[in-house]
């Protein structure tokens, strides 16, 4: 029945989609969605996942001076089932690619990824023509939300990245980069 309805829009009657669009959703879930987003943004549990040099700066951010725990992000969960954000820190070698993909799939659904360091953005200092050993960029494996350049970036850059990720989560659906 819906299909015929849409076809008869030529004679000026609004089609069903327009009607639905005007009426808006029957149940307003975005208030709950907004609450959940606010909570998700304020408690990001990273996955302990250091690959190379940037992993040391990741540990430095968790340590005493820069202390990610001030933002609730200090709870490093070793198991992928309990982590929210995967901070890819370090060069991704080709042999490590499938492992990262598997870890990403094991994480429960509202999950985000931070590409921490030049190697995870597009290969960093290890990028040269015919490079056979590394995956040039984490976004070839996982959908990355925040990119933090630097080799290695300072711990403050990671905290800035986490704050940017929080804004992105808080903005929810209507987030514009």
């Amino acid at each position: 029945m819906l299909q015929q309805e849409t076809k008869s829009t030529q004679n000026g009657k609004p089609s069903v989609e327009e009607l639905l669009r005007e009426a808006g959703p029957l149940v307003h879930l975005d208030v709950l969605d907004n609450l959940l987003n606010q909570a998700r943004a304020r408690s990001l549990w990273p996955l302990t996942f250091g690959l190379a040099c940037c992993a040391i700066e990741l540990m430095a951010t968790g340590a005493a001076r820069f202390d990610m725990d001030r933002y609730g992000a200090g709870v490093f969960r070793p198991s992928a089932r309990q982590a929210d954000v995967m901070i890819v820190a370090g060069t991704i070698s080709r042999k490590m690619g499938p492992v990262i993909k598997a870890l990403w799939d094991q994480m429960p659904s509202p999950k985000w990824a931070i590409a921490f360091g030049g190697c995870t953005i597009d290969g960093g200092p290890f990028k040269y023509p015919n490079q056979y050993a590394i995956v040039e960029g984490a976004d070839k494996l996982v959908p990355v939300d925040v990119y933090i350049p630097g080799c290695p970036p300072r711990p403050e850059a990671l905290i800035a990245g986490i704050l940017k990720l929080e804004e992105k989560i808080k903005a929810g659906k209507n987030f514009k980069a």
């Binding site: 996955l47 302990t48 996942f49 250091g50 690959l51 190379a52 040099c53 992993a55 040391i56 700066e57 540990m59 430095a60 340590a63 005493a64 001076r65 490093f76 070793p78 992928a80 370090g90 060069t91 070698s93 080709r94 042999k95 490590m96 492992v99 598997a102 870890l103 200092p125 290890f126 040269y128 490079q131 056979y132 050993a133 590394i134 080799c151 290695p152 300072r154």
Partner: protein
């Protein structure tokens, strides 16, 4: 990444494979340990490496000598300064370049500070593997002080590119020297605090004493170097055996113990921190004035044709660079003989018969850095 349980039943023992996979809180990076277990006891241990292979040696063959500098501090990013300056010293020895006295002293100070910061990070991660989280944070607090001092003059916190052929990029001012002395004094006051918190802790001693005892022929079989070898009674240190730079002008002794277990390897590294502190203090007190860069450095580095080998003592052991030059500006081959590659291969025979909790302790006491193994 635990696989499904498939219990392999051979005749009398039910064994199963456990995968301390590439992503594991205590494998210090991306090492994968495939353990054949019977209950908690390990029958077979196979370290699988290669998960952070970044083709350093291939990159050495497509860029000239000066452009390989940033790679050197990323091979072993915990003793980045030692590797970076070791590479510069290797090429200087090939070219016969003379480095001014002040630059040599600055190099010694920065290398020893880097060694202390690497040992501090090892200290923290070993304790975290054994379950005590607090010492990890204390170590990081002291390590941040070292990073600030080195940041002041080298510009980076972890992967230094401070050395150039013929000297160092930036001179050192008095404030840097004063900061170093303050750090040494403050760190010496803190070490007894670590002592009471960890070394005398009865639980820690039980977890480390007589755990992972290396028997003597392992040293020769696996070409072990560094603190592991010194914990087995061999007084071997590249700074003393094949002196490079001006290490022969400083008096520091090489700590050796012959218990060869996790606790002795722990004590060796703590003692090495003391020694490095004394080296830094001697260097700061006797640093001369003068230039930090050799007067005339050839614009294009073209080492004469031939095979060269140069070794330095990194925080983990004997790091050697086998450089083959064919006279052009691009190195023909640079092979990086890294200490952890040999040290880790000894895990195959050491882990037999130990328990999982011991694997973590032994792996922590061997102190490996994965990209240095996978190059």
């Amino acid at each position: 990444m635990p696989e499904l349980i498939h219990v392999g039943r051979d005749e009398d023992r039910d064994t199963y494979y456990l995968n301390m996979g590439p992503q594991h809180p205590s494998t210090h990076g991306v090492l994968r340990l495939r353990l054949l277990l019977k209950g908690e006891e390990i029958l077979e241990a196979e370290p699988i490496v290669g998960y952070s292979h970044r083709a350093h040696e291939k990159m050495a063959e497509n860029r000239n000598y000066i452009q390989f500098l940033p790679n050197t501090s990323r091979i072993d990013y915990l003793s980045g300064m030692i590797y970076n300056i070791g590479y510069c010293q290797a090429v200087e020895r090939i070219l016969g370049l003379e480095v001014p006295e002040r630059a040599e002293y600055i190099r010694i100070i920065c290398c020893e500070l880097n060694r202390i910061s690497s040992h501090l990070l090892w200290y923290g991660t070993l304790l975290m593997d054994l379950g005590g989280f607090t010492p990890f944070l204390y170590c990081w607090d002291d390590r941040e002080n070292i990073l600030d001092i080195l940041d002041e003059v080298t510009g980076s916190r972890l992967t230094y590119c401070y050395g150039r052929f013929g000297g160092v990029t930036m001179d050192v001012n008095d404030e840097f020297l004063q900061n170093t002395l303050d750090f040494c004094k403050r760190f010496r006051e803190r070490l007894p605090e670590y002592e009471t918190l960890v070394t005398e802790n009865i639980i820690f001693q039980n977890r480390c004493k007589d755990v992972g005892v290396f028997d003597q022929e392992l040293a020769q079989d696996f070409a072990l170097t560094g603190p592991i070898l010194r914990a087995m009674g061999h007084k071997r240190d590249v700074r003393r055996d094949e002196p490079y730079g001006i290490y022969d002008k400083f008096d520091f002794d090489i700590p050796t113990l012959n218990g060869a277990d996790t606790f002795d390897r722990f004590l060796i590294r703590v003692e090495e921190m003391h020694q490095s502190l004394s080296i830094v203090e001697q260097a700061v007190s006797r640093i001369p004035d003068g230039p930090v860069m050799a007067p005339k450095v050839p614009r294009k580095i073209k080492p004469p044709k031939g095979e060269y080998y140069f070794a330095v003592e990194s925080a983990r052991g004997h790091f050697g660079m086998f450089i083959v030059s064919d006279g052009t500006e691009i190195p023909y081959r640079i092979h990086l003989r890294t200490p952890s590659f040999a040290n880790l291969s000894s895990l195959r025979s050491v882990l037999r018969g130990t328990m999982i909790a011991d694997t973590v302790a032994i792996l922590g006491s061997i102190d490996i850095v994965l990209p240095e193994i996978d190059r």
